[in-house]
Subunit: 476 residues, 2 copies
């Protein structure tokens, strides 16, 4: 029957089958014709536009300016920083022909823009008065993938990348921390996604960084997702790219740098974390449509009431839409908008018009209530706030109940073989030891929590001295 | 001396020397390390962000949705439409290596997205209920250039590209016209750039279009600039890509399509057209900074007054900035902001604070006036409106005085050897004849003005029957 729901698999029956199906059915995205690529459909792209709007304001407020650097990077640039080229080489897309001719120097389609930006920073920066130089870009980058995992892992993705240069290491470090604070607040308050902030281990930090800060969230199957990063680049790039400045005493010095980025991967985290068996559940602050209004029947008065309600909500700054399609039955529409995760649904039929009322249904709890027409806007605002909090609370509960401590490797293995999640465990910081942990449990070192207490305990795996407890988890 | 102006060449002494220097000195852009590429510096990128904001609202208001399609197009896609591949082949950038391996099929870095989008449209469109499908993208595209002419001609540029599919040819045509109307209004009312709207000749239309609408502006050396285009694609793509729909009577039909785009080239037109010997003159509606406030001296009261003025202007929705740099003298600052084309300058010194006044200077006329502090906001609004009109009027006068009619080829040649500009002339529409006109005068067919009267006159060059008068000009 027309109004029947397209069957989507249960979320609990297998996360990726549920996820792929929901993303396609909700028309958030589609696969691109080249393996590993994706298409951001209007509904999915609208989420990215919301992210752009919110983060861009935060970035500007900090005095960072937007700019745009070229897509193509001469291959020789990448080779100037050894760790950097080593980290990125396996995933590069290379242009070898341009304007009908074989190119003398191959061009790399940017996987990130450190090298091409810093080549130019060297020209722009002369004296301490030119510092800090703080530039952000919203653009597309390419890191080769054989298979696309929509939003989460794709050959091309969209992101912002901030790149700053400072006179002192302290200033650079403060900037890297500011960026991570901004991201943390964005994840918690807008995406309703709590997570852990910490520093990456030496083996897992960004290729070219002295220190990488990460925000790690937890997905429903108990796997961690690296959700954004901020890097203290030290002078690793300023030395090979000769980015120097005359300090106030007239001495030539190398600048200290940071870079930090948040990508369309964040949309994947958002969808995976909050969805349920009916489909998506979008937190109101990020939802492109916060309220869907469904007129019931085809009476003119009903349609008018629906449009008036939408107009009043819009006046209050609420993103509301009326579904006026006349070839879908109510049940079909309800399922469609539940699938798409719109936080609130308002139903207005002849009875509601008659009684001067509207029925409001929450997407997160399916709680239904009837409200007088004049109270709809105020009640909608309350409910949107309540849904935002509720989704955050649910995610925070999940994170808390799935965060464990393990002192022995038996416990560690037991948890990873069962419900998984994060394990805080003493670790010796030897990469070989981490490799053994991974081989036995698939778990990797996620981060050292910021401000972690110093300890002196046996490493959970090898028994050597561990000076901190680190977060471990299986990861995407 | 520190406050001396960096000498820029006179605009009248040579347009491109003036242009390149001004664009670099005003910090709008820089050359990229790969030949043909450019960097959009924050001040130049801010102009693009203004364009984005304004056009995006117009595009959405028409019911077009934003999305994002992949950068990489399989080579075979381009070959499905013969005119299309022929038109774009010479300027393609080709990825032959991905993820460390030689690719089985070479990938084209998008020069435009018709083929990759329409491949997917075929999947999304099933019935007349799915139409019109109207999608827009803001992205980067690549068309190989050996040398960059900043903003005007670069290997990579930024643009928006709208792509629609309709049930009927009439609807598609109406959409192509709507897009050109939107662009025309944008050019005239925001960029203050009058121009001619018309259809391209068969030889000059978009590779794959049945009909191309163009907006042609006139630059100071009397050369035309194709400033944006909108295409009626007919069924040229829907047939090879098999984009069909079931119409209301259940019959399978091919869709009718349009595409239309406006790029960062528009910034080049803006800068070239309005600048003068002191540098840029930005129309207030597009200027990232509309008012620059210069505090004179270092008294605290002066700085406070400057900040208060900026706050009051900001409250009125005016983009105002205070230049607080303490290492530049007033004369240097004045030259700097004149060079950058900020429409109004407000000077506030001890005398102004004492008298409760401010001095306002127009960038377009250098007219200076003193206004009481309470009147600054209102007067600023008036002056911004006046500057917007004045720049448009100057450009309209220039266009009018540089538009000629020629019935004989002698007159035609005389004009093109002298002051140039547009020539409206009867033309037989034979491409070979246009080639001869070009060989003799460097002028090309720009467009057939919309609504041009039918004539029956001898072609300006060959004497064969001409049925319309077309615009000719030398062009970039």
């Amino acid at each position: 029957m027309m109004f029947e729901k397209k069957a989507i698999p249960k979320k609990s029956d297998g996360l990726s089958a549920w996820y792929n199906r929901v993303v396609l059915e909700a028309e958030l995205a589609d696969y691109g014709p080249v393996k590993g690529t994706m298409i951001f459909r209007p509904y999915g792209y609208a989420i990215w536009e919301r992210i752009h709007t919110i983060l861009d304001a935060d970035i500007r407020a900090h005095g960072v300016e937007n700019a745009y650097f070229p897509l193509f990077i001469p291959e020789s640039f990448l080779q100037k920083e050894q760790q950097h080229v080593k980290g990125f080489s396996p995933e590069l897309a290379v242009v070898t022909i341009g304007g009908g001719e074989e190119l003398a120097e191959r061009l790399i389609v940017r996987p990130t823009s450190e090298t091409i930006m810093y080549h130019t920073y060297a020209k722009w920066i002369q004296s301490w008065r030119d510092l800090p130089l703080q530039i952000n870009q919203w653009n597309n980058v390419v890191r080769w993938e054989k298979r696309a995992y929509l939003f989460l892992r794709t050959t091309e993705f969209l992101w912002q990348e901030g790149h700053t240069a400072h006179a002192t290491h302290e200033e650079a470090l403060a900037c890297a921390r500011w960026a991570m604070d901004m991201y943390t607040s964005f994840y918690r308050n807008v995406l309703a996604l709590p997570g852990y902030v910490g520093t990456k281990s030496a083996a897992e930090k960004f290729a070219g960084a002295d220190m990488t800060l990460t925000y790690e969230t937890l997905m429903p199957e108990g796997k961690a997702l690296q959700s954004c990063t901020s890097h203290d680049l030290g002078q690793n790039f300023s030395r090979p790219f000769a980015i120097t400045f005359l300090d106030e005493s007239g001495k030539t010095q190398y600048v200290w740098q940071t870079s930090w980025g948040l990508s369309t991967r964040s949309i994947g985290a958002l969808l995976l974390a909050h969805g349920d068996d009916q489909g998506l559940r979008l937190p109101p602050r990020i939802a492109p449509v916060q309220v869907i209004i469904l007129p019931i029947g085809e009476q003119a008065a009903v349609l008018t009431a629906a449009q008036q309600t939408a107009a009043r909500l819009a006046d209050a700054g609420i993103r509301a839409q009326v579904d006026v399609r006349d070839n879908e039955r109510l049940g079909f529409k309800i399922n469609k908008w539940e699938l798409r995760g719109v936080p609130l649904r308002i139903e207005i039929g002849p009875r509601e018009v008659n009684d001067g009322q509207a029925t409001i249904v929450r997407r997160d709890t399916f709680a239904k209530e009837t409200v007088g027409s004049e109270a709809v806007t105020a009640r909608t605002e309350e409910l949107l706030t309540a849904i935002q909090s509720n989704l955050h609370r649910e995610a925070a509960d999940f994170l808390e109940t799935h965060t464990h401590t393990a002192i022995t490797f038996d416990t560690f293995q037991h948890i990873m073989a069962g419900e998984r999640g994060f394990i805080l465990a003493p670790w010796c910081e030897d990469p070989a030891c981490a490799e053994q942990i991974k081989a036995a449990t698939k778990a990797t070192v996620r981060c050292l929590p910021l401000g972690a207490a110093a300890v002196r305990e046996p490493c959970v795996r090898c028994g050597s001295v561990a000076r901190h407890r680190w977060y471990f988890a299986q990861a995407y």
